[in-house]
């Protein structure tokens, strides 16, 4: 076996690959099952963007909080939310992570520090400021990560949160997942200051741009940014340039894309392929080992779908339970 040239040991590299493969298979399966009409509501798939969530979440523990987006399955899986509970939630079953009442856009698991996917664009940013303030007051070295797309970065909530985090020097990382399109609107039509790093600079915090399809680029940059926040160095912004393999939502005809665009990005910017080829080329992990992971993941997803379909829907008498909080 060749010397490992990477910043992670073999077990950690396998974990990263397994996480990314799990996200990919999870999303590919939803793509198929949603088209069959098996899934209620809407789903927004994270396929193609796996390196971003995984590269960041490898640095976090359950004490660290994340606030996700409408495209949150990848964040959930990378943060350690149970795949069976997620699948059941998306199928609207009572065994789901939120007992089947949240669905795709509201999966949460506070025990894992996953504060929730969120159907309101830009809404995670102020929430994570609260979580980060709590961590700062407690002094527990926790950090908060919030994700926004290039579209949601235009929301007032996001910009106000940048200001708040800077003023209070909160341990927050604002991750802009820039896949080039706000729903169907290309970034150059809708983002006035053109660079998310410029926005961070305007609020007095550092901003960094990385190739979000390169797991190691995300991992290394996120590691430095998270360490800085954890040590009291304050907030920062991380822009990950990435691609999404499916439409904004399932059923999106994607007429806004150029001809051949999807085929080109799948061929040249597939983060999972990029990672696996590097691992194999370096001689650290064999192709057969990765294929074994693929089989495990396939079985996991298959079992999650089977279990979700077999699970009961929430009962009528559960309508108001877990909905309101009594203080």
């Amino acid at each position: 076996m060749a010397q490992n040239p990477f910043p992670l040991g073999k077990d950690e590299l396998l974990k990263a690959y397994r996480t990314m493969r799990t996200i990919r298979e999870f999303e590919e399966r939803l793509h198929v099952d949603f088209a069959k009409g098996d899934i209620p509501g809407f789903v927004h798939l994270y396929a193609g963007e796996e390196a971003c969530a995984t590269g960041i979440m490898m640095h976090l523990n359950d004490n660290d909080r994340i606030a996700s987006t409408h495209r949150g399955h990848g964040h959930c899986i990378a943060k350690g939310v149970d795949v069976h509970a997620m699948m059941a939630e998306i199928y609207g079953r009572s065994t789901g992570a939120c007992r089947g009442k949240g669905g795709s856009m509201h999966i949460a698991d506070l025990s894992k520090g996953m504060m929730g996917a969120n159907g309101i664009l830009g809404a995670g940013a102020p929430l994570i400021c609260g979580a980060a303030l709590a961590a700062k007051v407690r002094g527990d070295r926790g950090v908060g990560i919030t994700f926004v797309g290039d579209g949601a970065s235009n929301q007032g909530t996001f910009l106000e949160s940048l200001n708040l985090a800077a003023v209070w020097n909160l341990p927050v990382v604002f991750v802009v997942e820039n896949n080039g399109y706000a729903e169907s609107t290309a970034m150059e039509w809708a983002v006035s200051c053109d660079s998310y790093v410029d926005r961070a600079t305007g609020f007095g915090m550092p901003g960094v741009t990385v190739d979000g399809t390169d797991f190691f680029a995300v991992y290394e940059a996120a590691g430095e940014i998270i360490r800085r926040a954890r040590d009291g160095g304050g907030p920062a912004l991380l822009e990950c340039n990435m691609v999404r393999f499916y439409g904004h939502f399932e059923g999106d005809a994607q007429t806004y894309r150029a001809k051949g665009e999807l085929e080109a990005i799948r061929a040249s910017r597939d983060c999972l392929t990029i990672l696996s080829e590097r691992l194999i080329e370096a001689g650290v992990i064999g192709r057969d080992e990765l294929q074994a992971v693929d089989r495990e993941v396939n079985a996991l997803i298959e079992d999650a779908v089977r279990a979700a379909k077999a699970a009961p829907l929430p009962a009528a008498e559960d309508l108001l339970s877990d909905v309101y909080v009594t203080y």
């Binding site: 970034m187 200051c193 053109d194 410029d198 901003g207 960094v208 680029a217």
Partner: protein, 354 residues
């Protein structure tokens, strides 16, 4: 025929991790556009009427267009016409390569470049004999000199309109050619660096920047300048080598700065970042002599960024070349302009009144 000038402005330079691990600047897109407007005004003042520009989606062109439109609205005729190069945009360094090649083919007289060392390297790879006028908008910026862009534009305009003799207007520059032979199955890779080639032990590219000095092993520089930031500063603080001198410097670095064989150097390796570097020894790197590194595996950083990884199976060599490409010698042009009163209203020599 009136000279045409080309412009390459990189919208994504100065965005890397050195904003976090050091205190590197983040030059905003609007600032880059403002720099371009200053350059364009200076070029126009020298008689340049047409400028080609690399297309990009980063927003620079939109801000420049807005500035030019506002000038026209006020009735001002202070900018040359700006023509984008017709080419697809990928948002990668391939755009710089292609735009430079297209502009060279179109016959531009000079290329004004906004970016860091990496952007200038990409332009130098394709510019041939077309001189570069560099403006630093990157992170370490060892290659482009720090100067008000208006003056760079003015010097470029004076040079390309023939008002300054070429032997004064243009300077020769060095580069280091990197040859990586990956054997029968891997093929050969050739790359180049304008300022420095660093060999580091990390064998992944990752976030690209160099800041973990314990991983530095060997360093090769075209010029060793104690007044700049980054790898060239390490060499420059040991034995300065000028940009105009033949050859460069090779430095062997040690992972353990406390090792008896090594010297500890305190060097500014990134903006605001002083670091201890263990130095084993150093020596001059003559031109046209191939150097085979001692380090056998790791990453090759070109002008401060990890670009290629190599293993024990690969064969690596580095060769410095003198007179590899040309730049506009802004200082010499402006000195000539002053001495010969090129910007006075009359061509007749005048003396200061006492």
């Amino acid at each position: 025929m009136a000279p045409v000038v080309g412009i390459v402005a990189n919208p994504v330079s100065a965005r890397d991790i050195r904003r976090v691990v050091a205190n590197a600047t983040s030059l905003q897109i609007a600032d880059r556009a403002n720099i371009l407007l200053r350059v364009l005004a200076a070029l126009h003042a020298c008689g340049v009427r047409d400028v080609l520009m690399m297309p990009e989606n980063g927003g620079i062109r939109a801000h420049v267009d807005r500035g030019m439109m506002r000038a026209r609205s006020r009735g001002e005729d202070i900018y040359p016409a700006l023509h984008p190069v017709s080419m697809p945009i990928t948002g990668t360094v391939a755009d710089t390569h292609r735009a430079t090649a297209e502009m060279r083919r179109a016959g531009v007289s000079a290329l004004v470049v906004l970016g860091g060392d990496g952007t200038h390297r990409a332009v130098a790879a394709e510019c041939g004999t077309v001189p570069i006028a560099g403006i630093s908008t990157g992170t370490n910026n060892a290659f482009p000199e720090h100067r008000e862009p208006t003056i760079t534009g003015l010097a470029t305009g004076l040079a390309v309109t023939g008002r300054v003799p070429p032997h004064i207007a243009f300077a020769a520059n060095k580069r280091i050619d990197v040859s990586l032979d990956r054997g029968a199955n891997g093929g050969a890779v050739t790359e180049m660096a304008l300022v420095d080639v660093a060999l580091v032990t990390e064998r992944y590219i990752g976030a690209r920047a160099l800041w973990r000095t314990e991983n530095f092993r060997e360093l090769y520089v075209t010029f060793a300048d104690p007044e700049v930031i980054g790898m060239s500063a390490i060499a420059g603080l040991l034995e300065p080598v000028g940009r105009e001198e033949s050859g460069g410097l090779m430095v062997r670095l040690s992972p353990d700065s406390n090792c008896r064989r090594s010297t500890t150097l305190h060097a500014p390796i990134a903006p605001g970042m002083m670091a201890q570097v263990g130095v084993t020894d150093w020596r001059r790197m003559p031109a046209d002599v191939a150097f085979v590194p001692e380090v056998t595996a790791g990453s090759i950083a070109l002008d401060g960024e990890r670009e290629l990884s190599f293993t024990e199976r690969d064969r690596l060599s580095l060769t410095l070349r003198d007179d590899a490409f040309r730049t506009v010698n802004v200082a010499a042009v402006m000195r000539h302009a002053g001495q010969n009163r090129l910007l006075t209203g009359t061509p007749v020599p005048v003396t200061a009144a006492f």
